[in-house]
Amino acid sequence: MSDTHAQTARFVRESMLPEREPPLAEVGAVKWVRENLFSGWLNILLTVVSAVVIGWILLHIVPWFWNSVWKAGSLSQCREIRDEAFGPGASSACFAVITDRWHQLVFGFYPQTLYWRPVTALIVFLIAASPVLFPRLPRQALWFSAISPFIMFWLLWGGSVWAPLSVLLGIVLAYVAFRIASRFVSPVLAMLAGVAVAVLCWGLLAGPLTTDMSRILPIRLRAVGSDDFGGFMLSFIIGVSAIILSLPLGILLALGRQSDLFFINKVSVAFIELIRGVPLIVWLFTASLLLNYFLPPGTNFDLMLRVIIMVTLFSAAYIAEVVRGGLAALPKGQYEGADSLGLDYWQSMRLIILPQALKISIPGIVNTFIGLFKDTTLVVFIGLLDPIGLSNAIRASTDWNGVYFELFVFIGLMFFICCFSMSRYSIALEKKLQREHR
């Protein structure tokens, strides 16, 4: 071999050179910086401008956070402490307002000795939500999820345990009636029968049952009125109730809009378009102001309940449209396939159509939920003390008049934690469902 080149080339390398380090400009951080930040004149310009802007922002924000005062009784004390520590006029956040009032921003005016109740309710909620969110957990746990709303209601509002129990009884009776009736008549009629039983139970049985049982076996927690609810707890209750209630309602509306039955179709369309066509704030004003005039005087129809209903209806209309998008995205073959298997309408929806349609709709649904959750801050305009409303009330005290951004930073952080975890969950869910496709 070595003779092959003897006449044609003077020199032939016959052994491999040892590997050398790549040139400095082609490795590691230098290469990354050159390729990603300084690859061309436009990129260089953008990098420099962005760096200046970010630096300028950090220059203002970092000292503000770094010098923050956490322990003081009022804004003026905050300023004294700052003047002593960092010199007068230094940029400094006064987070002492959070130390002093965090419990109001979180719980509103809920009695301080009873804070364990909303906290327990939150734990119950998380336990109840986990089997719904994570299908790997045992399915029996769903029974706990089903009764958890009643536990949470009792923990939050207190009063006699028999009130939520009698409501639960109505639902159980309705279900039993539905099961019995569905043996003899069509599912729609059976459902109507169930609803009728529930209404009868609540109308006739619940009142006397609650009073009698409370007398025989008085298990009760101290009652806390809705007007003591406030802060992040209020946003959370409104948001979560509306999210849980609006999903089934939205799915039904979406199915209604696709339905061939003239009446159901038109009612669904009218409802969705009416609710979507008007801003949420108008519905909230309707709930708080207009309804007062139409209800008989003296009716004590809880404002918070009215708001939950309005927010639920509002987001149900949006969910309906998102789910409709999912339904429309399914190929017609899926519907026909379901029919050809001999499934009836509800079976085909439950087993074939909805699982696929909802899978497609997940990003849209979660997006609606995140929007809804943040929209709960609009209740400040009807005088409910959500975190924003409380921040105004806190600023009105002479101690904290003049504090501004600190409160918003705290409120923003609380909302960010919730919304961000919702969006992460949705991404995880999408990935998991995607895998099933392969």
Binding site: R79, Q104, V380, G383, I394, A396
Partner: protein, 338 residues
């Protein structure tokens, strides 16, 4: 203006519905609590403290009425109301009394069908400017940018003032007082205008209050008072005379410190009638003899309340000014308790 007409129309409908429930006093007694509408937060007038107890000058009126009617100054459900919801809340019967720094005007009294029971604070709209602008009079404000809260009477007053003085201005509409402070401090506007009490409270919260001046001109009359619905005069009288009792108590020197002693009987028949040791004034408004005594004991007389929530010892630091007794050159003048 459209908003007013709309609210007015609503109120009329509401009254038609609410007329059946006229005896507010009975309702309040049955319920055991007074539903009192207050502001969602206004320095010195109503604000919750760290324990969630409402405090302030307007709040004190609610507590006095509750003390007079229910014998317990704590028996009040405070309903936070916004500028938009306050009148409907009252007209629809959600609240029994509205004590929310509300200006007594002709149209609110007559068109919206409310009954102002008196004035607990005489306010007026003023201007605050940075000292470095060198402005000494509101007449020099031509061409200024003005921070102004929307949806209030101050907005209309401002327009009137600049029109009568033939000046131009550029409004910077803002929603809340806190936002206004930030905008003003960030130089988004040259002038901040609102009620003088609000300006004083705002200035007190600044780092360097001395760098800002409140101009001498007061461009409007803002008599702030509690109000009730039309149609229940007995209830209106109770609220009116509770307020008068607080004012009269200051005039006669009845304070929360000496009230026990004075209610043993004094040489002054007017004090005796006020405190129920003489005459039957309580009976005349459907309450017991000691109603006024309890109202005064709830937080003290008018002067004590003023000192505690608004006066010169507080951060708000307001002088009595127009809100002094008529004997001291102010406007407070309670009709005789006779």
């Amino acid at each position: 203006m459209n908003k007013t007409a709309f609210l007015g129309a609503l109120t009329v409908t509401g009254l038609a519905a609410g007329a059946a429930a006229a005896a507010t006093l009975d309702d309040v007694r049955d319920r055991g609590t007074l539903n009192c509408g207050v502001s969602t937060g206004l320095t010195g007038f109503s604000a919750p403290d760290a324990n969630g107890n409402w405090e302030g000058f307007d709040v004190a009126v609610c507590r006095a009425v509750a003390a007079a009617v229910l014998e317990d100054p704590e028996a009040v459900e405070f309903v936070p109301t916004t500028g938009q919801t306050r009148f409907t809340a009252l007209a629809s019967g959600e609240i029994d009394l509205l004590a929310r720094n509300t200006t007594w005007t002709f149209s609110r009294d007559n068109d919206l069908k409310f009954e102002f029971v008196g004035v607990n604070y005489y306010d007026g709209q003023g201007f605050m400017v940075p000292k470095e602008l060198g402005v000494t009079s509101a007449k020099d404000l031509g061409g200024a940018t003005v921070c102004i809260q929307t949806g209030t009477t101050t907005e209309l007053n401002l327009a009137d003032f600049f029109r009568t003085n033939n000046m131009e201005y550029e409004p910077v509409p803002i929603e809340t007082n806190a936002e206004a402070q930030q905008q003003y401090l960030a130089d988004a506007c040259d002038v901040y205008t609102t009620d003088a009490s609000g300006l004083a409270a705002t200035r007190a919260s600044f780092e360097n209050p001395g760098d800002h001046v409140i101009l001498p001109e007061i461009i409007s009359k803002e008599p702030l008072g509690p109000l009730v619905r039309h149609g229940d005069n007995e209830w209106g009288d109770i609220a009116r005379w509770t307020l008068n009792a607080l004012i009269a108590a200051e005039e006669y020197g009845v304070t929360s410190a000496n009230i026990e002693e004075l209610s043993q009987g004094t040489q002054n028949p007017e004090v005796n009638r006020l405190l129920g040791t003489e005459g039957n004034l309580g009976e005349m408004i459907g309450l017991d003899a000691e109603w006024a005594k309890r109202a005064i004991m709830a937080g003290g007389n008018y002067g004590e309340l003023f000192e505690r929530y608004l006066g010169e010892s507080t951060p708000v630091g307001l002088a009595r000014g127009l809100n002094a007794q008529w004997t001291d050159g102010g406007l407070l003048y309670a009709p005789p308790f006779r």
